[in-house]
């Protein structure tokens, strides 16, 4: 077996899809040749992309049919505009018809694309509703987050609506970007230039230890593929009991960690020995820590 690894973070959206699915099985829908692109960017004098920054289609994963979307962070930071959002909505609607083993979203996005802000904001809520209809039909929705731009804003909301979240330790998942927080509340609040701080606060290791990420992997497309294969049956029905459990967990999180100033404080309180060393550990070692933490023993 080849020992070559392909960095998820450094791959393009199409490379990620091609290497994640069974070789040669991917069929793109509304690909670049269809030239379905934003009608709004040209008016603002901003370059468009023939796929509007998101690849959608279907293929096989371990021989099972799946639908897949991959956001291209190199185009407008993966921002969600009218067409970009509609392609995601359409993919979830397609799932209700074709009943795949899962819908995979390779999320890399700064959130709503500000150049078409109103359409993007509405589109994010439409994607949420379409995703939740897919969940309701017991089709697992998987978020795979490993792009260099992270998963922020509206996509950060969409990610936490999905059944399962997979992240690499190079990935970030949050709501507001550090730059936005710094520009509103000052550098003392959040120093966006402090890369270590940004990663501690929003990165895959913290999200995994606190429980916002279900599977933590290395920055390797094959590792994401393995994780997705393991989650094809992992639907989480949206029931009142499940939401009450979620509610209790979120309330306990504020109780337990609401006074923490830094992710290291949270990790220490979770029961991680040598919490300062977490930043130096690889994904396998972080996964080995989990059973010893409070999050690890919670149901």
């Amino acid at each position: 077996m080849s020992t070559t690894t392909y960095s998820f973070a450094e791959s393009t959206a199409r490379e990620r899809v091609a290497r994640l699915l069974d070789a040669g099985s991917f069929t793109e829908i509304l690909g670049p040749s269809e030239r379905v692109m934003s009608p709004h960017l040209a008016q603002l004098g901003v370059p468009s992309s023939f796929d509007d920054g998101v690849v959608v289609g279907e293929g096989l994963l371990g021989g099972q049919p799946v639908l897949i979307a991959a956001q291209e962070g190199e185009f407008m930071g993966g921002g969600v505009g009218e067409v970009h959002g509609a392609k995601l909505v359409g993919l979830f609607q397609r799932a209700l018809r074709t009943r795949p083993a899962a819908v995979l979203v390779l999320a890399e996005s700064g959130g709503v694309r500000l150049h078409e802000a109103n359409a993007g904001l509405i589109a994010v809520s439409e994607v949420m509703r379409a995703l939740l209809a897919t969940r309701e039909a017991s089709i697992p929705t998987l978020m795979l987050i490993g792009g260099a731009n992270g998963c922020f804003g509206g996509m950060g909301l969409i990610a936490r609506c999905a059944d399962q979240v997979v992240m690499s330790d190079a990935a970030r998942l949050a709501m507001s970007g550090p730059e936005v927080i710094e520009s509103s509340n000052g550098v003392e609040e959040f120093d966006s230039k402090d890369r270590a701080l940004v990663w501690r606060t929003t990165g895959g290791k913290h999200r995994y230890l606190i429980g916002d990420c279900d599977v933590l992997v290395e920055d390797d497309v094959a590792a994401f593929r393995e994780a997705a294969l393991g989650l094809l049956q992992a639907a989480r029905p949206l029931t009142l009991e499940a939401l009450e459990q979620e509610h209790a967990m979120l309330a306990a999180r504020i109780q337990d960690f609401g006074d923490c100033f830094d992710a290291v404080d949270i990790w220490r309180r979770l029961g991680v020995a040598d919490a300062e060393r977490v930043v130096d550990l690889d994904a396998a070692r972080i996964r080995a820590l989990k059973p010893q933490t409070r999050e690890g023993v919670r149901p």
Partner: protein
Amino acid sequence: MIWTELLNRLFADRHQVTCEGELLRGTAQLDGETLAIVGTTGHAAIGVELALAQARAVLDTVHAHPGRAILLLVDTQGQRLRRRDELLGINRYMAHMGLCIELARRRGHRVLGLVYDQALSGGFITSGLIADACDALPEAEIRVMRLPAMARVTKIDESRLAQLAEANPVFAPGVENYVAMGGVRALWRGDLAAHLRAALADTPTTDERARDGASRGGRLLAADVARRVAEA
């Protein structure tokens, strides 16, 4: 409009809504039907505590009053922009509110949103836009981001953005633009109770906003692109 005046115009004195901090919750009566009211006031910044409190109010309604209509009153400056909220995973707290609304919808609750003052960015998605339908008062303000912040992020000059905003509904603030795009169903002018009565009588159960956006000329591609992907 301040929330007390809004409630008086909607329900006269037939409401029992209280304000705890920036959270509005309670009940109100219209034509003998009781509604659950969940909302925010004071241009609330939605932090983890407030998102959780909104979700609690929705879950309590689902538990105790199956099928009761829920009216979401929206006045928010968006998500709270603090490092602590991000550390705690505010996106999950806000998504949880959205999931609670979805559950209510699935269990037969009609869920209406009403932007009565201000609606900005992420706070709007999980408070009003996730409802079955969202309406607005004509004097309400809806936007994603203020122009100076938008200029910083897009690296387009602020004066140029202001100029573009006058002619371009896709990113300019304004409730009319949201109506044109289908994100807001209608603006409520005059008799607010009559508008609410009509909205309750005609609550969509499927997401019709892309179709509305196309028929109103504000969002010409969304419905068609989604359909092409779904049916390809």
